[in-house]
């Protein structure tokens, strides 16, 4: 039980990374693969934030005059994950645009069929 208490967030991040990688490796439809990429992205961000957590820490914002800097969580992983989330959405939108264009050109979104259609 203490193992679960310590590592609940780690199990969540690990499970998301594995499920996302499973979708990317074994599915054939292009939009399903992009959904898997999105889940993989969320898993990696969860892993980074879970690593940066300090026990009994508070959010790194000096909203009241009584807070001191000793009991605060690490702000650097949060800044990196903020960047990563926004770049993730931009890359996913571009990938979906390419998928729409592929469907217009080849008529199908199955990756096995697109690989066979040489130019």
């Amino acid at each position: 039980m203490s193992f679960l208490h310590d590592y609940a967030y780690y199990i969540g991040a690990f499970g998301l990374v594995l499920i996302g990688l499973l979708i990317v490796l074994t599915k054939h439809n292009l939009i399903k693969v992009i959904v898997g990429l999105s889940i993989l992205d969320t898993g990696i961000n969860m892993f980074l934030i879970a690593v940066g957590y300090i026990r009994n820490g508070t959010a790194p914002i000096f909203s009241r005059p009584g807070l001191e800097a000793g009991g605060m969580v690490d702000p650097v992983p949060q800044a990196l994950v903020l960047t990563a989330i926004v770049i993730g959405v931009a890359v996913l939108a571009l990938a979906l645009g390419i998928a729409v264009r592929l469907h217009r050109e080849y008529g199908t979104l199955d990756m096995r069929k697109i690989k066979e259609l040489r130019w």
Binding site: L4, H5, A8, Y9, I11, G12, G15, L16, I19, G20, L22, I23, K27, H28, N29, I31, K32, I34, V35, G36, S38, I39, T42, N45, M46, I49, A50, G52, Y53, G57, T58, A59, I61, V73, Q78, V81, L82, I85, V86, G88, V89, L92, A93, L96, G97, A99, V100, H103, T108, L109, D110
Partner: protein, 79 residues
Amino acid sequence: MIVVVASLVAVMLAAAIAALVFRDLLSSVIASCPVSLVASILFLFLQAPDVAMAEASIGAALITAVFVMAIRRTSRYEE
């Protein structure tokens, strides 16, 4: 407290497995939306309110809308 966190992680993993298993593409995309939402709540428990706000607005709302619009322009089934 640990019961709440463990049940939220279980909901997140169940939604991710549902996104893996469903053959209808629209259902798969809608099943990936609770993954983002529960991840945003877990970010709040990990004392990261900026990241929670970014994940809720970008990951749960805009990504799902962009996916649904892309599915509308291509085929819905065939998986």
